[in-house]
Homo-oligomer: 459 residues x 2
C-alpha cells in the first residue's frame, strides 16, 4: 500500500542517486519492501545504500534478501560489517546463506563468528543437505509443565525478543523431551495462577531433524501451523521450523518439478542471473538423451522405407499421428504427476488409474480418428491429393489414431507409476520423454495398421 504512494518519489531518488532522500523514504517502508529496493538497485550503489539503514533495519533487511543478493552484498562490505551481520542473522537464514557460499569462504566466516553463534552455525550445517536440520532455528521458547502461566508471561517479557516465533511456546519435560505446544493465545486466556501442565492436551505434531525437508511442507499443509517443533530421535526438542522457510522450500520444489516436467534438469538459480552457458548445459543433457531416443524413429522409419516408397501418401500423416500420441500422453502424465504430488493417488491406485485411462484413451482416440477421417474424406471430395484409395487411407489413419492415442494415454499415465515404484521422481516422466517414447511405438502402430488395411491395394 505504502509502496504505491511513494513509488514515484522512490524512483526519482534512485535515478538521481539521492541517498539522503532514500534514507528518509526507507523510514516509512516495511523491511520486505526495502529489501526489494536493495535487490533491484544498481550493484555499485548497493553497499552505499545498505550502509544508510539503521542497524536493526539493516540486519532485518539482510535476512530478507535472496541468497544471490546477500552474496553480492557480502563482497562489497568490509570484513567487520560482514561478521556483525552474520552474528545477528536468524540462524536458519544464516544456514541458507552459508550453504550456498564456497566451502573455504563459509569456513572462514564461521571461524570469525562469536563463540555462541559459531557453535549454532556449525551445529546446523552438520545436518545433511536438504534435511529439516538445515531449515531449523534454535531460537524458540520452551518451558516446563510445572511453571505457572504468570511465570511464562514474565519469561516471555524477558527472553521473547530472541525467539523468531513465540506465537507458539513449547513444553518439555526435565529431560528436554517435547510434551506439547501451546499457542500464545492459550497462555494469555488462562488464569495467571494456572500451571502450564493444566493447559496441555498431549497432542503435538513435530518434525524429525533428519527427515527430508519435503516432509516439512507436507506437515505445514496438513496441520495448518505457522511453526513446527523439530525433535531428534530421542524425542528431544532441538529447534523449530517456521512457515516462511517451508514456503520457500515449497516454491523451490515446485520449480524443480516443473523444470523436470518441461524436460530439463532443475535449475535452482533465477533465470536472469544464471549464465547462458549453464542454462545450455542443463538443457543439453536431456535434449541429447531425448534425441538419441528419438533416433529410433529413423530406424523404425527405415524399416518401413519400402512401404513409404510404394505409398508416399503414408508419409504425409506421420507427424500428425505421432504428435497426437505425444499430446495425449503428456496430458495423461500431467494429470497423474500432479495428483501424485498432491497425494491424491498412490502407487496402489495403478490398476484403477489404468482402467480409467484405457477408457479415456479409446474415447479420445475415437474423437481424433473421426476428425481425421472427415478431413481426408473432405479433401478427397475436391482434389485427387490422397489418390483413388483415399477411403482406405482414411481408415488407416483413423484406426492408427485410435491405437496411438490409446497407447499414448496409457504410457503417459503408467510411466509416473513405474518411475515411482523404482524410487525415482514421477515428475521425470516429462512431456518430451513421454512424447519420445510414444513417437517410436506410434510409428510401429501406424505402419502395421497400414500394412493390414492397404494390403493388396497400395501396399
Amino acid at each position: 500500500m505504502i509502496g504505491k504512494i511513494i513509488q514515484p518519489e522512490l524512483e526519482a531518488f534512485i535515478a538521481n542517486r539521492n541517498f539522503a532522500g532514500l534514507q528518509s523514504v526507507f523510514k516509512e517502508m516495511l523491511v520486505p519492501d526495502i529489501a526489494e529496493v536493495i535487490r533491484d538497485i544498481l550493484p555499485n550503489d548497493r553497499a552505499v545504500l545498505f550502509r544508510l539503514l539503521p542497524k536493526q533495519t539493516a540486519m532485518e533487511t539482510f535476512a530478507y534478501l535472496d541468497v544471490p543478493t546477500q552474496r553480492a552484498l557480502l563482497r562489497d562490505l568490509a570484513q567487520n560489517e560482514v561478521i556483525t551481520l552474520l552474528n545477528d542473522m536468524p540462524p536458519d537464514d544464516r544456514t541458507a546463506l552459508l550453504e550456498e557460499l564456497p566451502g573455504t569462504i563459509a569456513r572462514d566466516l564461521i571461524g570469525q563468528l562469536s563463540p555462541d553463534e559459531r557453535r549454532v552455525a556449525q551445529g546446523l550445517l552438520g545436518y545433511p543437505e536438504e534435511s529439516i536440520g538445515r531449515l531449523m532455528t534454535p531460537d524458540y521458547l520452551a518451558v516446563g509443565p510445572t511453571m505457572t502461566v504468570g511465570a511464562v508471561i514474565d519469561n516471555l517479557r524477558l527472553h521473547g525478543r530472541d525467539s523468531e516465533t513465540f506465537d507458539v511456546i513449547y513444553v518439555v519435560d526435565p529431560r528436554g523431551i517435547l510434551q506439547d505446544d501451546l499457542r500464545l493465545r492459550e497462555v494469555l486466556l488462562a488464569a495467571p495462577g494456572a500451571t502450564v501442565g493444566s493447559l496441555l492436551d498431549g497432542k503435538v505434531a513435530s518434525l524429525n531433524v533428519n527427515d527430508d525437508r519435503e516432509a516439512a511442507i507436507q506437515m505445514f499443509h496438513h496441520y495448518d501451523r505457522v511453526a513446527l517443533p523439530v525433535i531428534d530421535d530421542d524425542g528431544i526438542l532441538i529447534g523449530i521450523v517456521t512457515i516462511d522457510d517451508a514456503l520457500a522450500v515449497a516454491e523451490a520444489e515446485t520449480t524443480e518439478d516443473i523444470h523436470k516436467f518441461g524436460g530439463l534438469e532443475a535449475i535452482d538459480t533465477p533465470y536472469q542471473s544464471t549464465p547462458v552457458l549453464t542454462l545450455v548445459w542443463k538443457r543439453a543433457g536431456w535434449l541429447v538423451i531425448l534425441f538419441i531416443g528419438e533416433m529410433l524413429t529413423a530406424t523404425a522409419m527405415g524399416y518401413f522405407e519400402n512401404e513409404i516408397a510404394r505409398a508416399v501418401v503414408l508419409a504425409l500423416f506421420v507427424p500428425l499421428i505421432i504428435s497426437s500420441g505425444g499430446n495425449s500422453g503428456s496430458q495423461a502424465a500431467t494429470l497423474i504427476i500432479r495428483a501424485m504430488a498432491l497425494q491424491e493417488i498412490t502407487l496402489s491406485d495403478w490398476w484403477r488409474v489404468m482402467r480409467r485411462e484405457l477408457l479415456s484413451g479409446v474415447v479420445l482416440g475415437a474423437i481424433l480418428g473421426g476428425i481425421g477421417f472427415m478431413r481426408i474424406a473432405l479433401w478427397s471430395a475436391f482434389s485427387p491429393i490422397y489418390g483413388e484409395h483415399w477411403f482406405l487411407v482414411a481408415c488407416t489413419v483413423s484406426f492408427s489414431l485410435i491405437g496411438v492415442v490409446t497407447w499414448g494415454t496409457l504410457s503417459g499415465s503408467m510411466l509416473p507409476f513405474i518411475l515411482k515404484s523404482f524410487g525415482a521422481d514421477p515428475a521425470a516422466s516429462s512431456a518430451p520423454f513421454v512424447a519420445t517414447l510414444v513417437d517410436v511405438t506410434g510409428l510401429v502402430i501406424y505402419f502395421t495398421v497400414a500394412s493390414i488395411v492397404l494390403a493388396g491395394t497400395l501396399l
Copy 2:
C-alpha cells in the same frame, strides 16, 4: 508422530467398524488427523463416525475437511445437524463450501442460518469469485490507538475466542480506517500502561477486498505474514485473510498452471473423484485444437510430396527433426513460464531473453546437429541404408537441426511473452502447443534446406 504409533490400532478399529474404539482413539488425535480418517473411511460409515465426535471437535474437524468430503457428509446428516455445523464454521471456510454447492441448496442453507451468520455469509458471497473477499473472514480483533495495552489484553481475554487469528491485532481510527497491525508479542512485551498509539510505526501491508486472490499469495510470500488485513477502497478494515487459505489457493493455482502446461484445461477436483467423462471432456478440447493445428503438417508434407517420392530417405528423419524442435521449445517455454510465475522476469525483459535464447538455441542445435551427422556417417560406413549421397543427407539433417532447434527455442521462449502481452496466461503456451507450432514450421525448414543442399543430386 502420534499418527504412526496408533496407526495399526486405528486400522483394526476401522476394519471391524469398532466405533467405540475409534471414539477413544480420536480423543488422542489432532483435528487434521481425525479429518483424514473421516475422509478416507467408507462413505457409509462416515456420518456414524462423525456423530461420535464431541461437539467442538466435530465442528473443527468439519472445517478441516476438503469440500467434496464436506458435501458428502452434509448429504448424510440431518438438516438440524447441518445448520448447527454451518453456523459454527469459520466464515472463510464456510464461503469455500457454499460456493461449491448448487445455487438452490446454498440459498436454502443460508436462509436457515442464524440472522448474524446469515448476514456474514451473504456479505462474503457478494464479492466476485476468485476475489480476496471470498477468502476473508470477518473474525479479527481491532482496537483504537488510545486504548492502553492492559485494556487490549483484557479485551483479548474477553473476545479472543471468537477470532481466527489474534496473533495479530489491528489498529483502526474512529472511522474504521486501518492504521497499523501489532503482533501479539509486541503488545505483550509493552508496559501495561502504555497506549496502543505509542507502539505504532504506521507501516502496514494490506489487501484490497476486490483484488484477485492471486494477489494474496504474492503478498504472503513477500511479507512473510501469517495473516493480512483486508481493506475496502476507502481504506476501512473489513476482514483478514489467513495464511492457510492463501496456501490452499496457491496449491490450486499451481495445479491450474501445471495442467495448462500439460496441454489440458485446468481440473479443480481430485483425479480420483472426477468422473471419467468429465476428464475426457476437459482433455478433448485442447487435444482437438492441437490436432487441427497439427493437420497443417499433413498439408505441408503434401506440398513436399514430390520431393519425398524422389528421395524417400528424407521422410525417415521427419520425426527426429520435428521432435527436436518441439523438445527444445518446451524446455524454453518451461523456463520462461516458471520465471514469469516467480516474477523473476517481466514483459520488459523480452529483448534480453530473446538474445539469450537465440544463443542457447544455436548452441543446442549445433550439438544435436553434430550428433545427427555422426549417426548418419556411422550407419553409412556399414550399410547402404542412406544411399550414395549420405554425406549430403547428413548435411541436410544437421543444418535443419540447427535451424529447427533455434526456431523451437525462440518460439518456446517468446510465446509466453506474446500471450502475456495480450493479457492471456503465459502458462497456456503449453508443451504440446509449442510442439505443434514448431512441427509445422520445422517441416518447412527441413524441406527448404533439403531442396537447397540436395538440388542436382537427389532432388
